[in-house]
């Protein structure tokens, strides 16, 4: 009775496209408001053929990869420190939470200027958005380490590094991966927000140019669909990594 996974995926995709087409048909909205799926597909093929899509996609992919890597690595380190030091948590967490509450859209243009624009600024903006869920997940995960195992490691005279590597991280890994799943999708948003703060190429820029410059709504949808696919691929990558890395638990 189990339907193959791929068939489910293809079926749901088909249903989505049909629903999209139906909405476009029934409402009768023009292509410049809601382009039908085949119009977007046709525009996508042209954008791929002309090389436009890849130019922008490769720039955004680089920002997502670097932003996520920097953001996740910093978040895990800070999350570990916060988990292990109550004082540090008390000192830092108000700032971390406040920074998360500040709309990054408003902050991004300033960050862009502070960090001199360019890729560095965009990676920092993207990393900032990625940071919060992963840092919090790491902190919560490490805080949940079984205290009897902590005592075991104490009894073994294990050093901090050994404990972090062999107990804290493996124990917290399922929770950290929860944060990473959220983080990778935020990295996609972060890259676009960063591009909107100042960039020449990237899918965020393509959206702006298509939407505000060329009045080419189908091209804007091509950029949106590409972003969605990057998000899905990144998420799938994290899930695959999780399957490989997360240790078996009781």
């Amino acid at each position: 009775m189990s339907i193959p996974r791929l068939a489910v995926l293809a079926g749901s995709l088909l249903a989505f496209l049909l629903a999209w087409k139906l909405v476009a048909l029934v409402t009768g909205v023009p292509d410049y408001i809601l382009p039908a799926p085949e119009v977007v597909a046709e525009r996508g093929v042209r954008a791929i053929a002309s090389g436009t899509l890849w130019t922008h996609t490769s720039a955004t992919l680089l920002e997502i990869a670097l932003g996520f890597a920097v953001g996740a690595a910093t978040a895990i380190v800070i999350g570990l420190l916060l988990a292990r030091s109550v004082l540090l948590e008390r000192v830092l967490s108000p700032y971390i939470v406040a920074a998360q509450a500040v709309p990054i859209l408003a902050l991004a243009p300033l960050l862009d200027i502070w960090f001199g624009g360019g890729l560095v600024a965009r990676v920092i903006i993207c990393a900032l958005i990625v940071f919060f869920p992963i840092a919090i997940a790491t902190m919560v995960g490490v805080r949940s380490v079984d205290p009897t195992l902590v005592e075991l490691f104490d009894a073994l005279g294990a050093g901090e590094g050994f404990r972090v590597r062999r107990l804290d991280i493996p124990w917290a890994l399922p929770v950290i991966f929860g944060g990473l799943r959220v983080g990778i999708t935020l990295a996609v948003i972060g890259a676009v927000v960063a591009e909107w703060a100042g960039a020449s190429v990237g899918l965020g820029i393509l959206i702006n140019i298509a939407d505000q410059g060329l009045f080419d709504t189908p091209l804007m949808f091509v950029a949106l669909v590409t972003l969605a696919m990057i998000g899905l691929a990144g998420y799938a990558l994290i899930v695959a990594l999780e399957r490989r890395l997360v240790p078996p638990q009781r």
Binding site: V29, P30, Y32, G198, L214, F215
Partner: protein
């Protein structure tokens, strides 16, 4: 209804020439007659509701619309105007889709939108002069566009009127975007980049950035585009459907707006008062508001305000420039992009 339309036509015919005659006392008189509500020919219930889409946030540059509402110009023409705001691209889409009857958009954007198949036309001129200029610290802005080569220029992005003007200027100097370094400021904060020393020059609104930079202690020079490569400025846009279905409405709205605009040209304080009454935040810094408005009035009426009439020759020249720059092709003619009453 037909009586109202007659009245509208009559007003159109008589008031526009009266105002176009120049900034004389006649126009001041027109402005001062309007406000009393009792002179509106019909009760408010019979006013035709009209939604107008302005740029992305309230600003004194929209004073003609505020005055039109506040001082009864629209009511006199049988219109009940509601103002809404949207970004440039959305103004054009929403107006084309009749989500709003009219909008304010850049002429160059109308050319591109129309060419890409969006059924929209430019129906009335708001700015006689193109508002975008190249701005830089005093003494550093070349007067010859060819000398822009090698400089770093901050601009919001590779779209919109700033971009079109920049390319037109570069082109006039025999250059392309590849001959300069472009730095994007999509949040329109390129002035900060200039103050920060990240760029040599910026594109900006003649009414806005020089004032903003001046307050930060930077005296500036400008390279304006008008003498080099004339482009039409922002104006009122409407959809083909509205133009074909209710041309009287288009005439009434553009005429009322032109009258209100003339009133602001005659006395910017009128515009500022209306702006402060309709958008209270605009009254918070009246000195700056008035300064911006005075500069704006200068752009509206550069070479003489003529009631919003469209300069077809300027459009034809701009059409050629935009084609040459590759923004549009020849599939849509100039006359399909504009509508003249």
């Amino acid at each position: 209804m037909s009586r109202l339309r007659l009245l509208v036509l009559a007003l159109l015919i008589f008031s526009i020439p009266a105002c176009a005659c120049g900034p004389g006392s006649a126009c001041g008189t027109t402005g001062s007659v309007v406000p009393s509500g009792s002179e509106v020919p019909s009760g408010p219930a019979s006013l035709q509701p009209v939604t107008v889409l302005l740029g992305f946030r309230p600003d004194v540059q929209f004073a003609p619309f505020y005055v039109g509402m506040h001082d009864g110009y629209y009511a006199r023409f049988g219109l009940d105007v509601t103002l809404e705001h949207a970004s440039g691209g959305d103004v054009i889409r929403k107006v084309a889709d009749r989500q709003a009857a009219f909008g304010v958009a850049d002429a160059t954007d109308v050319m591109i939108a129309r060419t890409s198949g969006i059924p929209i036309r430019y129906v009335s001129t708001l700015y006689q002069a193109f508002p975008v200029a190249i701005i830089g610290p005093r003494g550093t802005v070349p007067t010859d566009p060819a000398k822009l080569a090698g400089m770093t220029i901050g601009t919001p992005g590779r779209f919109g009127s700033s971009w079109h003007a920049l390319l037109a200027l570069l082109d006039a100097g025999g250059l392309t975007a590849a001959d300069v370094t472009i730095r994007e400021y999509p949040q329109f904060n390129q002035a900060e980049g200039l103050l920060n020393g990240d760029v040599d020059l910026i594109t900006g609104f003649r009414t806005n950035e020089p004032l903003q930079l001046g307050r930060q202690g930077m005296a500036v020079d400008m390279l304006t585009i008008d003498k080099v490569a004339p482009l039409p400025g922002p104006g009122v846009v409407a959809s083909d459907a509205i133009i074909a279905g209710d041309p009287t409405l288009v005439r009434a709205f553009t005429a009322a707006t032109a009258l209100a605009q003339q009133a602001v040209i005659d006395d910017p304080q009128v515009g500022l008062d209306a702006a402060a009454a309709i958008v209270p935040t605009l009254g918070e810094d009246p000195a700056t508001g008035l300064a911006v408005l005075r500069a704006t009035v200068g752009l509206w009426s550069e070479g003489g305000f003529d009631g919003g009439l469209i300069d077809r020759a300027r459009w034809a020249a701009a059409f050629a420039t935009m084609r040459h720059l590759g923004f549009i092709d020849a599939s849509v003619a100039v006359d399909e992009m504009i509508w003249t009453r």
